[in-house]
Each structure stands twice: as structure tokens, then as C-alpha cells.
């Protein structure tokens, strides 16, 4: 469960996040949708505690990300935008390194790494050094790295970037599995089809503000459009985000 209340974050004069509130519940997939520069990544970065909010609060399973950032981080698995791997380590070693840093037992690490490797279908290149991996392979390994400790909350910043059709479908299946397992999945995207296909709830962000927060059907109704893309454009325009 992720809750964000009246979050503000500026960089100099730029108000990247300007009073954002939303909640992402367990067992549901919540999509953060918005044009480039809308403040999606900034909001997510506050959630995985690499940025501190200027004001407002954000909690992970009720734990405040500022007051107890370490506790909050224990409850999440994250895939930051453009995540990099260690090129001299194999995919398996990259994942195991994170497992160790999550504080997993040494005995259970190997099994957990193997499980997530099978889950994401990366066994084929798991024991190769990640130098020279394709974007899709890298994203899969980064994703495996974020999920190896079985986090209750999963935060993914543009996870489908650089993935081909097959990999995107595999990613969707994975996200659905997480939802089925009762996890809270929050991901950002600017790809309409992906959000429409996956999300139980959509939070449309534009110009640092929440334009709309509803189910896909709710959004279509609210904007009076059959097409989600049209509804999105209208919603963004309503807060002056275009």
C-alpha cells in the first residue's frame, strides 16, 4: 500500500511535483500516466527515497519515507528509469548482489535468485556477464534484481522502455502475477495501450498535478470519450499540462 498526500518537490524554480495525492492499494495495479516532464519520475523517486519532498507525506505500508526511509525501502522493490547493471558481473551475480544488500539470508539467496531467473525467463543468459546485453535483457535483469526479495510494493519507472513485443507481454504477465499475489504495483508510463491493458486504476499527472484518478472506465466516462487516449488528452489539458 502506497499513499501520497499533497506532495511538493521543486528543483530551483521548477515545480516538478506540485501537490500530488494518490493511493495505490494492495492487489491492484496502479498506473502513473502523464506526458514527458509531468513529474512522474520525481514522484516515484520520492517514494523510493532518493529524493526528499519539500512538503507533504508519502508512506509505504504506513511507513513514512522521510522519517523511516530505511524501513520504507525494506518494503519496496524498485526499477528506476534507465537502471544500469554492473558489466563485469554476470546477470546472476548482479541479482545476488542486490539480494545480499536487501539483507536476505545467505542460504536462501541462491534459491531466490534461481526462482526469479525462471520467473523472468532469463536463464539463457543468466550466467553471462552483462556487458553487451541488449536493452531488453538489461531491463529483465534489473527487474529480477528488484523482485528477488519478494517485496510487497513494487515501483517501476517506465519498465517497458526498450522491450520488444514478446518481452512486453512477458512483463505484463509478470505484473498480473504480482497483482494476483496481492502485491501493490505502481508503475509509470506514457504508453497508453500498456496502461489501458494492465491498470486497475490510473493516475493522470500533468504539470506536477493530479489531473484525474480513476479506473480506466471511470476516466472514459468522466471525460465523455470512448477512446482512452482522447480522455487522457482532455484530462491533461484540463490542468493546463499541454
Amino acid at each position: 500500500m502506497i499513499e501520497v498526500t499533497d506532495l511538493h518537490k521543486s528543483f530551483g524554480d521548477v515545480k516538478a511535483v506540485d501537490g500530488v495525492s494518490f493511493a495505490a492499494r494492495d492487489g491492484r495495479v496502479t498506473g502513473l500516466l502523464g506526458p514527458n516532464g509531468a513529474g512522474k519520475s520525481t514522484a516515484l523517486r520520492v517514494l523510493y527515497t532518493v529524493l526528499k519532498p519539500d512538503s507533504g507525506t508519502a508512506t509505504i505500508d504506513g511507513i513514512d519515507v522521510v522519517a523511516d526511509s530505511l524501513g520504507a525501502r525494506r518494503r519496496i522493490g524498485t526499477l528506476p528509469h534507465g537502471s544500469g547493471l554492473y558489466p563485469h558481473l554476470t546477470a546472476r551475480e548482479n541479482i545476488a548482489y542486490y539480494a545480499r544488500l536487501y539483507g536476505m539470508d545467505c542460504d536462501s539467496i541462491d534459491a531466490a535468485v534461481q526462482t526469479v531467473i525462471e520467473q523472468l525467463d532469463i536463464g539463457e543468459f543468466a550466467d553471462r556477464r552483462t556487458k553487451g546485453f541488449s536493452q531488453g535483457q538489461r531491463t529483465k535483469v534489473s527487474l529480477a534484481r528488484a523482485l528477488v526479495h519478494g517485496p510487497q510494493n513494487v515501483i517501476l519507472d517506465e519498465p517497458s522502455n526498450g522491450l520488444d513485443v514478446m518481452a512486453t507481454r512477458a512483463l505484463r504477465d509478470l505484473i498480473r502475477q504480482l497483482r494476483f499475489a496481492g502485491r501493490c504495483v505502481l508503475f509509470s508510463s506514457h504508453v497508453m495501450q500498456e496502461v489501458a491493458a494492465l491498470c486497475d486504476e490510473i493516475v493522470i499527472i500533468a504539470a506536477g498535478k493530479v489531473a484525474l484518478h480513476d479506473t480506466p472506465d471511470g476516466i472514459r466516462n468522466a471525460m465523455g470519450c470512448e477512446d482512452l487516449e482522447e480522455a487522457f488528452v482532455k484530462a491533461v489539458a484540463s490542468v493546463g499540462g499541454l
Binding site: 523517486r45 532518493v50 537502471s83 554492473y86 558489466p87 544488500l101 536487501y102 539483507g103
Partner: protein, 392 residues
């Protein structure tokens, strides 16, 4: 504590697989430096040694004008060889480098001597060339010796003791020991070792922030439930390990190369046995913490790997400054100076090579002072690692 170990182990494995790190840590610093140093010394020693023993070839114009002088020179390890025909030819030959030096004895030489008028001897050389200058000095010395011998003879013939011409008897007492003379030559050694040490951890220090950031692996790393202090401690410790490794390799390689340098022939017996290597290692090793944390600190201010490399290279020069100042001012070791990292290591190492007894107080202050500065810099790194600006 577990995260520190995890980060440390990962960095070690990662960097042992990185050819760039291996090359600079385990090859360039430790091997290149000492071998270069030793071969340069070897070369210059060989040259100066051979010049003393070898006969000087001296072209003389008009040798028939001064048979006694020629005989004197020949009896003093100087070979008189054929010279160009005339003065112009001699000047050209020296200019073109065919001869380093030519001596011209005018026809009036014998006459002037007989009349007790100062007799001219011309010495043509290019004083700007170092080898010619050395040869000219040898020729000058021989001529001066002949000069004073003739003067003594003249005084004796007139019934005056030649001693009267020597109101002063200058007696130079050289108290330098063979090890002491080596210390002068090997004074720069401490810098070579500190340099090797620093290059060993350079890539790791840069990688800790600039490298991770450029690769995009910093942000996921920071979102892990690990105290950032632990991350930076693990990284600095790994850099320390590579620095210490590089240091020990360079000490060993220097120990080996020094065996091929004929220092003893110059009256130098550097105190650089296996036990000294071990003590030198223990004296220098604490500097790794200062080096690793300083480089990490500098790298964390930079925006990219390239920029970090530029600035961190400047850090490579930092330890030279105190050493340079001390060599110019000829400062002796004192307890206060032992608080300054790199300087204290330099002074202790020079003392060690001079075969002086180790001052345990100095050693204690050096180790403690260096570790203290290192701890302070590490603390600063940890503080910087907590900033959100770190992500760039």
C-alpha cells in the same frame, strides 16, 4: 556490517575482472615506475662511473710546442689524439660535435714559459653540452695541476717554500654514510610508492560515484534498504585493498630492480633488504585510507567519469607537494611533521633507507595522524553520499 562486506566483496570481484583497473593497479603503478626509475639511475650511474675510469681523449693543436705539458697529461690518464689543423677547424669540429673539447697550444708557449710570462693555453668546448662540460672540467683540472706544479718548482728554485702559496689548508670531512648518500638519490622513492598506491585505487574511487552514476546503477543502489554510509565504507575499503596491493607489488618490484642497480660502486649501500621492505609497507599502508577517501571525495563532486578522471589525476600529484617543500627546505623529521600524511611517510622512509633507528613516537604519530585524516575524509564522503544532489 553485512552490507559493508557485501559491497566490499562485489567491488573486489568486479574490479578484478576489469582490465582497466588491473592494468593500472597491478601493472602500471607497481612495475612501470620502479623499473623506469631504476633504469634511469642505472644509466646515469654507468655514465658517471665510466667517465672516471676511462682515459680522456684530448685533441691538442700544437702539441710540439709543449712536450713537457703533453707528457704530464699523458701520465694523467689522458690520451692525446690528432686535432684539426688550425683554430678555425677546431672551433668547427667542436660546434659540429665531432670533438667535445680541443686544446690549442700556441707557438709562443715555450718562449713565454722561459720568460716567466703567463703562457696561454686555449680550451675550446661547448659549455652548454653536459658531456663536453664534464670533459672540459677534467682537462681543466689536469691543466691546473700542471700549473701549480710549475709554480711550486719556480718558487723552490728561488729558495721559497711552495707552502707559502697555501695559506689555507681546506680539509673537507664528509660525514655522509653510504646509506645516507643513497637516501639523497632514493629520496624520491617514497613518492613512487605513494604514486603506485594511489593509482591502484583510482578506478575504484571514481567508480564509487561518477562511474555508478554514469552507468545508471547508482539510483537502484541507493533505493536499497542499506545505510548509505555502509555503501561508501564498503567501496572505500575495496579501494584501500587495491591500493595496498599495488603498494606491496611496487615495493617488491623495487626490491628486485634495485638488485640490478650498481649503487655500491658509487659508495652507496641503500638499506633496502626484505625487512626494510616489510617495515616500509607497514609505514606506507595507512596512507591508503587517505588516498581512497580523498579520491572518492573528489570524484563525488564531478559529473562524469571523464571529469572525475581529470580531477582525480590531480590528486595523484598532491603527495608530491609536501615532499617537494621538504626537499627544498631540507627539513629534518620532527614530531609535528608526522601529523602530515605523505610527508610523514616520506620522512620515515628516508630515515629507514638511511639506516637510522626508527623513532617509535614518530611512527606512532604518523600512523595515527594519517588514519585520523583518512577517517575524517571518509566521514566527509559519507556525508556527501547522503546528499540527494549525488544523483546528478
Amino acid at each position: 556490517m553485512i552490507p559493508i562486506r557485501a559491497v566490499f566483496q562485489k567491488e573486489v570481484v568486479d574490479n578484478f575482472r576489469d582490465r582497466r583497473t588491473l592494468l593500472s593497479a597491478l601493472l602500471m603503478g607497481p612495475l612501470f615506475g620502479p623499473i623506469l626509475f631504476a633504469s634511469v639511475i642505472n644509466l646515469s650511474l654507468k655514465q658517471s662511473l665510466s667517465n672516471i675510469d676511462e682515459a680522456l681523449d684530448l685533441p691538442v693543436i700544437g702539441r710540439e710546442n709543449a712536450p713537457n705539458l703533453i707528457a704530464y697529461l699523458e701520465s694523467h690518464n689522458i690520451n692525446i689524439i690528432d686535432a684539426p689543423q688550425d683554430l678555425d677547424g677546431a672551433v668547427d669540429a667542436v660546434k659540429l660535435g665531432r670533438h667535445d673539447i680541443v686544446i690549442v697550444i700556441p707557438e709562443t708557449f715555450g718562449e713565454d714559459l722561459a720568460d716567466t710570462v703567463p703562457a696561454t693555453v686555449q680550451l675550446i668546448s661547448d659549455q652548454a653540452s653536459t658531456t663536453a662540460e664534464r670533459e672540459a672540467r677534467r682537462a681543466m683540472r689536469a691543466l691546473a695541476a700542471y700549473n701549480s706544479e710549475l709554480a711550486s718548482m719556480r718558487l723552490t728554485m728561488r729558495g721559497i717554500s711552495p707552502v707559502i702559496m697555501r695559506p689555507l689548508n681546506i680539509d673537507i670531512v664528509d660525514v655522509s654514510t653510504p646509506s645516507g648518500r643513497s637516501a639523497m638519490l632514493l629520496g624520491m622513492l617514497s613518492y613512487f610508492f605513494l604514486f603506485a598506491l594511489l593509482t591502484g585505487g583510482m578506478n575504484l574511487a571514481i567508480d564509487a560515484t561518477a562511474g555508478e552514476r554514469e552507468r545508471g546503477s547508482l539510483e537502484p543502489l541507493l533505493s536499497l534498504p542499506v545505510k548509505r554510509d555502509y555503501l561508501i565504507f564498503g567501496k572505500i575499503l575495496a579501494a584501500c585493498l587495491f591500493m595496498v596491493l599495488s603498494l606491496s607489488l611496487s615495493l617488491v618490484s623495487f626490491y628486485v630492480t634495485l638488485k640490478f642497480v650498481p649503487l655500491a660502486e658509487l659508495g652507496m649501500t641503500p638499506n633496502f633488504g626484505p625487512d626494510v621492505v616489510l617495515i616500509a609497507f607497514l609505514l606506507l599502508a595507512p596512507f591508503a585510507l587517505v588516498g581512497a577517501s580523498l579520491m572518492t571525495l573528489v570524484a563525488s563532486f564531478t559529473r562524469s567519469y571523464k571529469e572525475a578522471q581529470t580531477w582525480v589525476s590531480v590528486v595523484l600529484l598532491a603527495p608530491t607537494l609536501p615532499i617537494l617543500v621538504v626537499s627544498i627546505l631540507q627539513v629534518r623529521a620532527s614530531t609535528e611533521l608526522m601529523f602530515i600524511p605523505s610527508l610523514s611517510q616520506h620522512l620515515l622512509l628516508v630515515g629507514l633507507i638511511r639506516n637510522e633507528a626508527l623513532n617509535l613516537l614518530h611512527v606512532g604519530v604518523s600512523v595515527a595522524g594519517t588514519l585520523l585524516v583518512g577517517a575524517l575524509l571518509t566521514w566527509l564522503c559519507a556525508r556527501l553520499y547522503r546528499r540527494e544532489g549525488l544523483l546528478g
